[in-house]
Symmetry: C2
Subunit: 253 residues, 2 copies
């Protein structure tokens, strides 16, 4: 199982493009804010601005859900909130289990924004025997030995992994074996899962590296011109020491 198969042109998401799905939560958040201010209707232009996207994109996105707008007026806020919530599956309760209750796991457990949208922290699981029974965010931490039972008993289908990278794959396997079919992975590891299981990853380090890339480009633009040749040690934003001890002696070709 989960050998090398990366093929996945299988079940397309019933017409709704993945990119659209990823934006629906954004729209929902903006709509919820409008709803709380008792705004009755909103135009695609206004809502798009609030969500930080293009209005044409927003309209096309909504067109996949159906024709919920009124021409000349806009969209009914409450109705749209309901439609998107339903489409995303937020009208039901999603029990979530967090595995690895360290710095990050505890922060997530304490995070109030979870429950706000139908997600409920149903269980906290850790391998450290000393933590078993300790309450974190009002929930007693349970031991990994009981993982299987905990998942089953609570009907958990979404698991969050916040263990060290070395343990992530093993924890993932156990979660999947116990019935979890969606995983949010915070460990910097590539997880292998059988077909039918969704994995999304949140990787702080990658985000920072992408920012660093663009940051470097911006710095290099100022003192443009000379590209290759000179060691990149001029427009360093920090002005600390340059590259050191990283330069390999090996040079192929």
């Amino acid at each position: 199982m989960a050998t090398g198969r990366t093929h996945r042109p299988a079940t397309r998401s019933r017409g709704i493009p993945e990119a659209t799905v990823a934006r629906l939560p954004l729209y929902l958040r903006a709509l919820t804010a409008l709803s709380e201010r008792s705004v009755p209707t909103v135009s695609s232009e206004e809502l798009a601005t609030a969500a930080g996207v293009n209005s044409a994109k927003l309209r096309k996105d909504f067109s996949y859900l159906g024709s919920y707008g009124t021409r000349g007026v806009g969209y009914d806020v409450e109705y749209l909130v309901y439609q998107i919530s339903r489409e995303l599956g937020l009208t039901q309760d999603w029990p979530v289990a967090i595995v690895g209750i360290g710095n990050l796991g505890a922060a997530l457990a304490n995070y109030g924004g979870f429950a706000s949208r139908g997600f409920r922290v149903a269980a906290l699981i850790d391998a450290d025997p000393a933590m078993a029974g300790t309450p974190v965010a009002g929930i007693a931490v349970q031991h990994t030995d009981d993982l299987d039972r905990i998942i089953s008993d609570n009907g958990v289908s979404i698991g969050v992994i916040t263990t060290p990278p070395g343990a992530a794959q093993q924890v993932c396997d156990r979660l999947v074996a116990a019935g979890v079919t969606s995983i949010l992975n915070f460990a910097p590891t590539v997880l292998s899962v059988p077909e039918g299981v969704d994995v999304r990853k949140v990787d702080l380090s990658i985000e920072l590296q992408i920012l660093a890339f663009h940051e470097q480009r911006k710095a290099g633009e100022d003192a443009a011109a000379e590209d290759e040749g000179a060691p990149p040690m001029r427009a360093t934003p920090a002005g600390r020491k340059g590259p050191d001890g990283d330069m390999p002696a090996v040079m192929p070709a």
Copy 2:
């Protein structure tokens, strides 16, 4: 500034596609692991598997950086580590400031994975006067009043926002005014920034909602057929109470 302008076909990233940039950290991680095991060379096939991508994609990605491989052999691990590090700007030191030292901010501050790749937590900033001076992860928390000076003194160009959503835009504005040009935002807010400033967001809630969408689809597939019409309350994975108090009375059209 930063009014409605979302146009940005301006400076393309010197040939390297954004999608490729986003994968470079992934390759780098896999390569570092190989390097630690003293593996001298690696083929595109092996490395692609380790990084969880397609081998053709990997080769094409590398082709944007130059021809660093040797046909018939593969890539020199050490050399490739250096080339990617250099391309990502990781051969220099990036001082990072974290603003909002609560649950999440503290977890990030304590996270060791930061420094591993040239990122250094240079400052922790919070608005709570009671926190000023308190050491978190060995670094004294400083007050927001001094934000401008802290950013300047440390040459910080990358800021991390972990404040409550309401404060995020204001904090962002202050960071930008102080000279920050890259922001990693954990608050569930759409940030407006002037041109030239990069923003990346990490949004746990959105990730969970995307997972919920697919989860719902999977559950609906089992008991397929009847689409619209009946209330969606059958194949609930949790079996808890159904939608409640969310159903709006308004129905346009």
